[in-house]
Point group: C2
Chain length 390, copies 2
């Protein structure tokens, strides 16, 4: 089924990082305000809200977040629904909103997402994050996410000769891009030497291979073709969307060097958009760990299996490379407030495609792709966007 009616007409994020004294509802409201009133879209035009949060239950003892957050953002009374898919929560909220627009149920809707993670200790946050893995087979045994991605990294190293330095180069690129992004958690460059500091979290992953614990929120407004022109001269159309799942636990996977849900979701999205990987000008991929970026660029078909690391080494994925990946800094350096990440990715692609990415603007920017996954890739969402006038 082709998508015909879904346009992004605004997008905004808060600063990501340790936002002292700012609550979940406050950061959510800030992102919504920027994406609506701050972008010339009256709050009264919003007919429904699709909200992504991962685990506020364990982080701030707050479930049922949709009506609470919508209310605080000035949208009391609206249908407001919460979508959760671990780190892919934000993208599943976008998918629900796409179907809402395409069905004709609503004309204009908000997608917004937030996570407040720094109000608890790192141990508590790690325990909360572990709920994204299979509790019966993985997390209850002590297998947390750095360990899970370390297993994938070892498999990739063994199969393709990927090195710790290759992964470190992903971190160096992320920090290089984020240094120009005022909303990034780590707005500074790092050297390869620093990235290689042997502070192991779970061998072979070191401190700089891991995305941080972050607070933050992001929001976009989606609307149909008729309304889009009222809000902006440069709507961005969502032209393809794919979602797939995989077994939650690694022991049921055939292969640890690729995430099959990423492959499947992207193929669905490409087919819907009538495009191929080579048609994508810019992509944001789910780099919760540096190895995840390398694998994602292979799974999405930008590079052959095993050649993702080479692309990093040769600068192909740099902001000015042939296939820019995470040009604003990715989860690694911008931060990863889990539920918010998928919506933040859409904001990045929106800003890149309309040419408003400031110092992080990529040269070619007609068509963009976002890749958001949850857990160890047990959920994956890929959305493809095209500037309406492109």
């Amino acid at each position: 089924m082709p998508l015909r009616e879904t346009n992004i007409v605004s997008g905004a994020q808060t600063k990501f990082g340790k936002l002292e004294g700012v609550t979940l509802r406050e950061m959510f409201a800030e992102a919504v305000e920027k994406a609506t009133i701050g972008s010339g879209i009256p709050l009264e035009d919003i007919q429904a809200a699709f909200i992504g949060t991962f685990i506020p239950e364990m982080l701030v003892h707050q479930g049922h977040t949709a009506p609470l957050l919508a209310d605080y953002a000035g949208l009391r009374g609206l249908p407001a629904t919460r979508h959760e898919a671990a780190c892919a929560s934000g993208a599943t909220a976008i998918r629900a909103a796409i179907m809402a627009i395409e069905s004709g149920m609503y004309d204009t809707v908000l997608v917004a997402a937030a996570e407040k993670m720094t109000s608890v200790s790192t141990n508590k946050a790690t325990e909360a994050l572990a709920a994204a893995a299979d509790d019966e087979f993985e997390s209850s045994m002590g297998l947390t996410f750095p360990g899970v991605f370390a297993i994938a990294a070892v498999a990739h190293m063994q199969e393709y000769g990927t090195t710790e330095e290759d992964m470190a180069l992903v971190a160096v690129k992320a920090h290089h891009n984020a240094a120009k992004n005022p909303l990034a958690q780590f707005q500074k460059e790092i050297t390869l030497e620093k990235a290689m500091t042997p502070r192991y979290i779970a061998w072979p992953l070191k401190l700089f291979d891991c995305s941080p614990i972050s607070d933050g929120a992001a929001a976009i407004v989606l609307t149909n073709n008729e309304r889009a022109k009222q809000y902006t001269d440069t709507p961005v159309k969502i032209i393809g969307t794919g979602q797939a799942s995989a077994s939650m636990n690694l022991c049921d996977r055939k292969n640890l060097t690729s995430f099959e849900a990423s492959v499947r979701a992207s193929r669905i999205a490409y087919e819907m958009a009538g495009l191929q990987p080579k048609d994508i000008d810019v992509a944001v991929v789910h780099d919760c760990f540096t190895i995840a970026e390398i694998i994602a660029t292979e799974d999405l078909g930008f590079f052959k299996p095993g050649e993702g690391a080479k692309a990093v080494r040769e600068g192909v994925t740099a902001m000015d490379g042939d296939m820019p990946i995470n040009p604003m800094g990715g989860l690694k350096a911008v931060g990863h407030p889990v539920g918010a990440t998928g919506v933040k990715q859409a904001v990045v692609i929106y800003r890149e495609l309309i040419g408003e990415a400031s110092a992080n603007q990529v040269p070619r920017h007609d068509i963009g792709l976002m890749h958001n996954f949850g857990g160890t890739g047990a959920t994956c969402v890929v959305n493809i966007m095209r500037r309406a006038d492109a």
Copy 2:
């Protein structure tokens, strides 16, 4: 917008109650198996899964439930998304599935929901449930749900003269209906005297005014018009759906004798269906507490404000009354595995409308309504269904 394409073609639930030794994924898989293979619908026909769970994070340390549960039920790989709106989680999953079908994104989808609540202590369960209220303004102050609904009961008693006996009669009716329902948690009658036993949970609410802590799962299959006929001679069409929200905390409500989100959601659903309250043959409403049933029947327009209790006293809401409410026993006596409740309500209406409600069959059954709300009515969903041949 009218709904044109959404049909329920099967529905099933597990036994509700304290299901010793049965895990979340096992009960989920049982409900899915009954609603698919057990109803003549091949698993391969299911293209996406929309899943409702409320708070497995705190009850069984499991987030990211959608791919996990889908996988365990034999649906590995599918797009599987989790929807959470406290006690209305199941109904928000149904709404997402409706939009998926109406948009043409999928032909045939599963909606399934489950909650495993009895694996933790009652105190722990109460703490988890409290996450459905506003943590900053209510739950952190010790206001848990029996207290919240006690406040509503007192307001209703004060405004309309509703009595503790009126509420007890709701419980007597619920147990009377559930006594015939083999899937109910409490499959036995109670006397008015027993319901009036002064075992106060939060005055004026007594033990028998409260729905129990339960385990359970439910599932339905939705499909478009073309496919519906392949599966059944008696599809049930969803012809109206409404969702609304309200402030999370009570202090922002104008009125405690009515839940404004119920009023608004039902008016949207009636308008979409082109129907009025008098056109409804049978309804299931969200009776988490007996007072909630009384208020719901007023909010939905079946009775005037303040006349819900009179309807109970006069037997109007009995299984063979003019406006049967919760003919299988409701949350009160069938049980309330929170996330599963909305989908179970759809199963009840489906079974009633196709005439397969056995000893709980209501006499007129062309058009039914389900009303599912979350928290203290901060989220409400109303769906109206009609048997396709009616």
